[in-house]
Amino acid sequence: MQRFRFVLKVLLWAAAIGLPFWQPLAAQDPEACRSPQASCDGFDRYRLAPSNAPTWAPQMIRASGRPIVPVFEGWFENPDGTYTLSFGYISMNLEEALHIPLGPDNFVEPSEFDGGQPTYFREIHPSIRRPWNSFMITVPADFGDRRVVWTLRNHGETYSVPGHITRRDYIVETPVAPARAATGTAGAHAPRMRFDPSRPWAQGLAGTRWGPLTATVGQPLEIPVYVNRGETLNQRPESWLWWIQYSGPGGVTFSEDEVRIELDEAGEGVGTTSVTFTEPGAYVLLVQSIETLRNSFEYHCCWTNGWVEVDVTN
């Protein structure tokens, strides 16, 4: 018994002395471990030791059942001193399109910015791949370091992305990319766009809204889009439109979703698309007007967004 007590005392003393110097591996501070002076067993940021952080692979793309994820594209300052946060989304589905109504599966926080986001999420486009810079939120000039978070729930998972104006790296140029414009590079200017010849032109990502137009289920609705490239015409007397469904309860069919517009000598032209709806309700369509569809979206500049509201009845 005496010996047992002695051993127990030794163990307790040893524990008391050693405890302050012991740290579990998980408690090691990765920031400190990157210091060349630190000795953190098992830590090597380039070996990327097993972690519970997710690792994804592009092979996760399938015909259906894969995630639709919101993307924060960046921000820009408006002439009145306010800022616009620009969002888009990426789908991992080659064939499946999904309706995600506003509500617990599709919401923006703070709630004052909720309600304008898309509710229809298209499949991967064969070349453009995804809608870029398609959803805008304007925040006040004194927005500071606050955040706007867009959340999508689909296929059993939740995906959120924060938008903010704190990082200059995320500035989006609009409506002109100066360096590309200096050399006449295709896609350096957002074409001007309007839906009514009597109304002023809109230009850039903040774009313009039009409607509500009215339509009948199953009956094609013709929508003309007027485009003006003016002095930016350069060598290519053409412009392009890309149409996608933005929201609405049913399906939408475009006679052409990629529309090539021949421009006249003044750089103006019109492209008309017929749109057919499968169900009654309130729809929003998005049309993006751009100099060329080839690679242009990758630069995050330059095109003009137009959101078209359509009320569809039986």
């Binding site: 790296d169 990319a177 360096a179 590079t185």
Partner: protein, 473 residues
């Protein structure tokens, strides 16, 4: 907020990393000892100063972005503990992020200190950082700015360039997003002297045209556009040279070159960053080293050829433009390529953006052997081209499968990550991602390739007998 990035930033980065090494410097007023040293002792004057001058002072001198100068004994002694830590951990000199535990380790442009040099510095610090005999100090060097010197001339002994190509100038606005300037111009309009006939290029180097230009360039790609199409695919245009932050030079093997014709045009792709103040007439210069007039090298090199991770068109896999990196997570992409001709690889360079983790190139030879050629631990400010020693250049027979692996790191552990809360997608901005590796390659005809393999076997056997490092087969 000023964002001074660019070719100049190699020095800034080097200084920042050194400054970040946590160690207490000796106080500025520390007494300097001039005590004589005995035989066998390591002293600053005779042993350490030559190492510091050759490897450190290029950035660590007044007028650079480095946070401290290391030109004098007093300056070096003051930071001796930090220097000891930095060199012992191979944090300094910066710019070399090849994984030293796997793949080929023999390069022409590895700036790393030798083990002997590191030991010398460590011993010097540990023994009291003595000056020694001032008469033994090497003479001081007049350093020129990043825009004033040629690395191939100063560090590789190639002499001054035979030609200098100056890019069209562009005024970078003070405030804007990323800028891409993409002019096309006849090469004769951009040269410092006229060329009258076909010339073969053996090396190239890109530098900022002036001091301020160095702050705004992220990368510069240039392409040769021929005046007329050719039936010989070896002589068509294509890439001239790419430069990026931390990458200046291309050197071809001594039997290879790239054709430059007087009626060529150059198509530029200049990726620039606004830095908070206008930079007027930003431009770059490309130094060109030529083969003698009338001399044509044995092979026309393809030089840097892109191997995309995650894009293998022949297999119909998803594109690498579909990459999606989760917040606080990783993504791995792989691309597979089957070589349809024999290839000799003379260089390797990675390309990722701010969420880069690492890139690895592997070869599966037709006989089934699999080998890691190299793994590059990514640092966004060092787009170094790793140029193999002649006897270490991978020889890849036709039928070899190349696997290009890219791992993105969107965690907070990645020090260059601007926002780990974001979902990151493909695009051209630095906050978007890309993942491709450029290997400098030359196609080799069958008969020549057999001879190269035989010569490589002979070199390997010789190395083995001599107990020296074994080159790649």
């Amino acid at each position: 907020m000023s964002r001074k990035k660019g070719l100049r930033n190699v020095c800034a980065l080097a200084g920042a990393v050194l400054a970040g090494v946590v160690a207490l410097p000796l106080s500025a007023g520390a007494q300097v000892s001039f005590a004589s040293t005995g035989d066998g002792e390591v002293t600053y004057a005779s042993d350490v100063a030559p190492i510091i001058q050759e490897n450190c002072v290029r950035c660590h001198h007044p007028g650079t972005s480095a946070p401290m100068a290391l030109e004098t004994y007093e300056q070096v002694r003051r930071y001796s503990q930090r220097i000891r830590t930095a060199v012992e951990n191979r944090v300094m000199p910066p710019g070399w992020y090849i994984d030293r535990t796997v793949g080929i380790q023999h390069f022409k442009n590895d700036p790393s200190l030798s083990d002997e040099d590191i030991e010398t510095i460590v011993r010097w610090v540990d023994s009291g950082a003595q000056l020694g005999d001032p008469a033994l100090l090497p003479p001081p060097v007049e350093w020129r700015g990043e825009h004033e010197y040629w690395q191939l001339e100063d560090e590789h002994g190639w002499g001054p360039p035979d030609l200098i190509i100056t890019s069209p100038a562009y005024t970078v606005p003070a405030e804007s997003g990323d800028q891409w300037y993409e002019p096309v111009a006849p090469v004769q309009d951009l040269l410092n002297k006229e060329i009258t006939g076909e010339r073969w290029i053996r090396a190239l180097e890109t530098r900022p045209g002036d001091e301020m230009s160095g702050y705004v360039f992220h990368h510069v790609n240039s392409y040769l556009v021929r005046a007329a199409e050719t039936d010989d695919p070896d002589l068509d245009g294509g890439n001239l040279t790419d430069a990026a932050v931390g990458k200046r030079i291309d050197m071809y093997p001594s039997d290879s070159g790239k054709l430059l014709r007087p009626d060529d045009q150059i198509r530029w792709s200049l990726h620039l960053y606004p830095i908070g103040e206008e930079v007027p007439d930003a431009n770059v210069q490309i130094g060109v080293w030529l083969y003698p007039e009338g001399e044509r090298p044995q092979y026309a090199t393809e030089d840097e050829t892109s191997f995309n991770s995650g894009e293998s068109r022949s297999l119909g896999l998803p594109r690498y433009t579909d990459l999606l990196i989760p917040p606080h997570g990783y993504q791995e992409l792989r691309g597979w390529f089957v070589l349809d001709r024999n290839v000799r690889v003379h260089s390797m360079r990675g390309h990722m953006h701010l969420r880069g983790g690492y890139q690895m190139m592997e070869a599966i030879y037709p006989d089934g052997r699999r080998e890691v050629l190299n793994k590059i631990d990514w640092n966004h400010l060092w787009h170094t081209t790793h140029i193999y020693e002649d006897w270490a250049q991978p020889l890849l027979p036709k039928g070899t499968v190349i696997i290009a692996t890219t791992l993105f790191d969107n965690t907070a552990d990645n020090p260059s990550n601007p926002d780990p809360d974001q979902w990151v997608v493909y695009n051209r901005r630095s906050v978007g991602e890309m993942g491709h590796v450029r290997m400098g390659i030359t196609y080799i005809p069958d008969e020549d390739f057999e001879q190269m393999l035989a010569e490589r076997e002979r070199v390997l056997a010789e190395q083995e007998r001599g107990g020296r490092p074994i080159a790649s087969r």
